[in-house]
């Protein structure tokens, strides 16, 4: 059962030795259960900060963020958060299988625990990401795309209800990136998770999301949200349809309003 994510008038100020930097100012985000929402915006507009606030890794200076009915800290305890970054961040001394099971080794602090079903055993996850047979490989033997897929499997290992992705495909080459996009879509559609994905890439945002939230640059604030009404499941070829291109154009226009015309 996936959960909703809600950010209300979120504000975050970096307090670095006397210098205050307002990273986010009045950010609102509304993710319904099972929705896939992308957050796009120029470099430095605070997208990663937003994600960290949702994950409970940072505490907001003002405003609130909730996952389901409680704060991120509660979701952390229930291990409801799946996290993926631009770098895979695998532990080099562990095999692929051991990396995937890392989240399940962390002791749950709540009596709720997590239902472990047959869907998220290491074997099932390896099959899901298409790396069956690689269980005993070490990270240094894998390509970039493979490492990211392992990172995705790891994010799903504790059966989270919420998936937070910070430019997960940015470090990949174009070909791998394109195929990974469709894999991610497939996995997210299948698991029915609530997803927030930060990305620079407008095509990616339109392709994968139900909604796209636009964040302006410093300080970051949500200026607009575009609902993507494209049919699901998203299949190959949808990027060439008129509707898709129109959405992409719309995002481009929305992003060039404001001081920053340069997306990246």
């Amino acid at each position: 059962m996936s959960q909703s994510i809600k950010a209300t008038q979120l504000q975050y100020v970096y307090d670095g030795g006397g210098r205050n930097l307002t990273a986010l100012d009045r950010v609102d985000l509304d993710v319904k259960p099972g929705e896939f929402v992308s957050v796009v915006g120029p470099s430095g507009c605070g997208k990663s900060t937003l994600l960290k606030l949702i994950a409970g890794l940072l505490v907001p200076t003002n405003g609130s963020v909730t996952i389901g009915s409680g704060p991120p800290a509660k979701a952390q305890k229930l291990k409801n958060i799946g996290l993926m970054f631009q770098e895979p961040g695998l532990l080099p001394w562990r095999t692929v299988a051991q990396n995937i099971t890392l989240p399940t080794e962390i002791a749950p602090n709540s009596s709720y625990g997590n239902q472990s079903n047959s869907d998220n055993t290491p074997k099932a996850l390896l099959r899901l990401i298409g790396l069956e047979g690689f269980a005993t490989y070490y990270p240094k033997e894998l390509s970039g795309g493979m490492k990211q897929r392992v990172a995705l499997a790891r994010a799903l290992a504790a059966s989270p209800e919420v998936l937070l992705l910070d430019e997960p495909l940015a470090a990949l080459d174009d070909i791998t990136r394109t195929s990974m996009r469709y894999e991610l879509i497939r996995i997210c559609e299948y698991s029915n998770l609530s997803v927030v994905m930060v990305t620079h890439n407008l095509r990616e945002a339109v392709l994968m999301s139900d909604k796209v939230a636009i964040l302006t640059s410093r300080p970051g604030s949500t200026t607009a949200t575009v609902t993507i009404n494209l049919p699901r499941p998203r299949i190959q070829g949808i990027e060439d349809t008129l509707a898709f291109i129109e959405y992409e154009q719309k995002l481009k226009n929305l992003l060039s309003i404001g001081t920053e015309t340069d997306i990246k």
Binding site: W93, L102, I106
Partner: protein, 261 residues
């Protein structure tokens, strides 16, 4: 079968060149000493040294064992205390700020000054030597340990925090394994230094160990014995270094830094 042959060839390529070079060096030494008629009490020829060494193998091995034991015990003691200190200091900046300057002060005080003090305090037994060896080991392991414990992958740290991992879990699953390469770098420095520490300790006290052999033979101008002791020390040093490199290769198999040999 072919795998063993390849392994043998590889091992030979690592051991044969330095052995040949050493042999060449010793030959030059031998020839020069004989040709220039250097007196035995100044610079003996390798042949004389090796004769002395093999004549009294038991003597040198027994003293060698003493020094080696003191060095290793000191190393283990120093490394354990240092690692414990590094663990606490890595988790607390206040602790680090308080204790690190003291560690530095200990480090910069030369052991040749500390050794006689320890002898006065702790007597002529093995303990002062073990203590000196542990003191020498302490600083490199402490500093490298702290670096290693702190220098972790921020992605994994964020991941573990998002799962509400405890500090203990983070320590054992992330920090400690991450610190292994740093620790081994410190060990490679500390182990030879521990041997030196034990020897220096023996200079100021005691009748056991290669350090005392050096002192006594020096007083008697017994150069062959002196050099034999030095050769045995060198042998110990090389053996320990090889062991550390081998262990490092096993433990850090996952690390992509190129280990020398």
């Amino acid at each position: 079968m072919q795998k063993y042959f390849v392994g043998f060839m590889k091992l030979s390529s690592y051991t044969i060149p330095p052995t040949l070079a050493l042999f060449l060096l010793l030959s030059i030494w031998e020839i020069w000493v004989r040709a220039a008629n250097v007196p035995i009490y100044i610079f003996p020829a390798p042949s004389i040294i090796f004769t002395r060494l093999f004549q009294d193998m038991g003597f040198f091995l027994s003293h060698g064992m003493t020094t080696l034991t003191e060095a290793l015990l000191g190393f283990i003691l120093g490394a354990t205390i240092a690692m414990t200190g590094a663990t606490f200091m890595a988790h607390s900046r206040l602790l680090e700020r308080s204790l690190l300057p003291i560690a530095v002060m200990i480090k910069v005080t030369p052991i040749v000054a500390i050794a006689p003090i320890f002898v006065i305090w702790f007597g002529f037994g093995s303990f002062p030597k073990i203590l000196i060896a542990s003191l020498i080991t302490f600083f490199p392991v402490l500093v490298n340990g702290m670096s290693g414990l702190r220098n972790v992958d921020p992605v994994v740290l964020d991941l573990l925090n998002s799962l509400n991992a405890s500090r203990r879990e983070i320590y054992f699953k992330l920090r400690l394994p991450s610190s292994m390469p740093y620790l081994f770098a410190a060990f490679k420095i500390s182990i030879p230094l521990s041997v030196i520490g034990a020897v220096v300790g023996e200079w100021f006290s005691g009748d056991r160990g290669l350090g005392s052999v050096i002192i006594v033979s020096h007083a008697n101008l017994d150069m062959p014995t002196l050099f034999s002791a030095i050769f045995v020390l060198a042998g110990i040093g090389v053996a320990l270094t090889i062991i550390v490199f081998y262990l490092e290769k096993k433990v850090l198999r996952w690390h992509d830094s190129s280990v020398i040999t």
